[in-house]
């Protein structure tokens, strides 16, 4: 029983990272109807920026905030330069764009910071959380940050005019233009927010997986799995999906014989495919009620 609880808690804390990545994925998917394959690399690059600032002596939380701002602007910049021109291009062109972006960011990061792994600090430390051996303070911190982020996003989309405009632009772009919304900028804003959220995910996961240019590969696949499970259209779904994927991954690794670390990734992929077949709209996806 103790092992079970332990694995579930561990699953929830890694799930928090998947949840953050899934939030970022959903943010861009809402805006442009594509999965951004370079999302993980963008997050990794952001994490390196935070690391670099700390190397220069910037205190942790200042580096955290500055990195989020830089990532937000960077996300907007990437959209304006690379993907706005592709807005009307076929799906494959966009996919090629994502892969190009992936490769570019990965090698630029390798060029600047090389491929050796680096230690990344945690602001929460790694002592037992509330004296419990089940979960560390860093893990608890990851969960806490994710939940705060989700609440902030909920409030933003529910109660601000910009949030409402973004939702309108994502659901019926033509009508959004007809009420005067600049839908193109809403997409850019979606990229900026996704990039900022990815930065948070990267900064939180870096103390666990260590910082290096390929650190987000596996995490992003799980983020996709979480987003698909949640329904790709719902931030809440993405977060719940993230936690479920984290728990599922850990329990499968513990209890299903033969599923070691090597088989965890195929499990994520199998999960994506199963969800797409069984419940294509995911757990929390929009079921649009229509009357004719």
């Amino acid at each position: 029983m103790e092992l079970f609880i332990n694995q579930v808690l561990a699953g929830i804390s890694t799930g928090a990272i998947y949840a953050c990545m899934a939030l970022a994925v959903v943010m861009i998917y809402q805006a442009i109807d594509h999965l951004n394959f370079a999302q993980g690399e963008m997050a990794m690059f952001s994490t390196f920026i935070a690391w670099q600032m700390m190397q220069w002596g910037v205190p942790y939380w200042w580096a955290f905030i500055l990195t989020i701002i830089v990532s937000f602007l960077g996300g907007i910049l990437i959209e304006r330069l690379l993907f706005k021109p592709l807005a009307k291009a076929p799906v494959l062109t966009n996919v090629a764009g994502f892969i190009a972006l992936f490769a570019i960011i990965n090698s630029v990061a390798g060029l600047i910071w090389d491929f050796t792994i680096k230690q990344f600090p945690s602001p929460f430390g790694s002592s037992p959380f509330l004296g419990s051996q089940l979960i560390s303070t860093h893990q608890a911190g990851m969960i806490g940050v994710t939940v705060v982020l989700l609440i902030a996003l909920f409030l933003f989309f529910r109660f601000t005019r910009v949030g409402l405009a973004m939702r309108a632009a994502a659901t019926v772009p033509e009508s959004a233009r007809l009420v005067g919304i600049n839908t193109s900028w809403m997409i850019a804003l979606g990229w900026g927010m996704a990039s900022a959220i990815g930065a948070i995910a990267g900064i939180l996961v870096a103390p666990v997986v260590f910082l290096e240019p390929n650190m987000m590969g596996g995490v992003l696949i799980y983020g996709f799995a979480a987003a698909v499970l949640g329904g790709l259209s719902s931030p809440l779904g993405a977060v719940i999906g993230g936690f479920l994927v984290g728990i599922f991954e850990n329990l499968a690794g513990t209890y299903i014989p033969g599923v070691g670390n090597e088989l965890k990734l195929p499990i994520a992929l199998a999960l994506i495919i199963t969800v797409l077949v069984v419940k294509p709209n995911g757990l929390m996806g929009h079921t649009v009620v229509k009357r004719v």
Binding site: R161, L164, A165, R167, A168, T171, V172, E174, S175, A176, R177, L178, V179, G180, I181, N182, T183, H286, V288, V289, K290, R291, V292
Partner: protein, 237 residues
């Protein structure tokens, strides 16, 4: 006196296909002008061209300022509200959010709430359902929502594309009653596109008839109603 909306030599294209062949008309401040024509004549294309939603050439002036080349959203921000064919409802958002979206570009945020109440007084059904997903409304209710959403802009000019489409006759009466009232009391100039010529001519003051992308007749609504050709082809007498 310059017209509120002045259109000259408007030609519009879908790919290689030309849908409008030099449309010319104007709309006076405060007027309710009807644009009539059979299915496929080019009515929707004309009002989509005003909002730059279809590739076009020619000149379109609103309050003396050229609209050609401006983006759809910046044209809307000049005070032109467009109720599109098919209503354009934000189906996954609530009724009230749909109304808030109508006012999303307005700076006078303090009075938006009272404008929403005003819409509810025009259309009490919308108030009953204000927290409901807009996609759950009936066709008639969605049409009312589309008109209310457009009015939330506090427009100078409202473009209505077949507001009667698919609605029961009784609901159509109601809706046109309110549209007439908005025109008279709120001083909103209106361009209404209709296949139902009878109905449109009852509330309009001016009318244009469009056939295969050309204006073939224009005049006051009463002249048009009494025209023999119109009676034969559009009013079924």
């Amino acid at each position: 006196m310059t017209a509120l909306l002045d259109i000259k030599d408007l030609r519009s294209y879908y790919g290689q296909v030309q849908a409008l062949h030099g449309i010319e008309f104007h709309l006076k401040e405060g007027s309710m002008t009807a644009l009539l024509g059979t299915n496929g004549a080019g009515k929707t294309t004309t009002i989509r061209a005003i909002c730059n939603m279809v590739r076009s050439t020619g000149t379109i002036q609103f309050e003396g300022k050229p609209l050609m080349g401006k983006s759809t959203e910046s044209i809307v921000r000049l005070g032109i509200a467009h109720v599109p064919q098919g209503r354009g409802t934000f189906t996954t958002l609530t009724v009230e959010e749909n109304l808030q979206l109508g006012a999303i570009t307005r700076k006078d945020t303090k009075v938006i709430a009272s404008d929403i109440e005003k819409m509810y007084s025009y259309f009490p059904k919308l108030k009953e359902r204000h927290t409901q997903q807009a996609g759950t409304l009936s066709g008639g209710e969605q049409q009312m929502l589309a008109v209310a959403r457009a009015l939330m802009l506090r427009p100078r000019l409202m473009l209505l594309d077949e507001p009667s489409f698919g609605l029961a006759p009784l609901i159509v009466r109601d809706l046109f009653g309110i549209i007439g009232k908005i025109n008279r009391e709120d001083k909103v100039s209106i361009l209404v596109v209709e296949q139902n010529a009878q109905l449109a001519l009852e509330i309009a003051d001016q009318a244009y008839v469009i056939e295969t992308g050309r204006i073939v007749m224009s005049g006051s609504a009463s002249d048009i109603v009494n025209n023999e050709d119109i009676q034969k082809s559009y009013l079924g007498h």
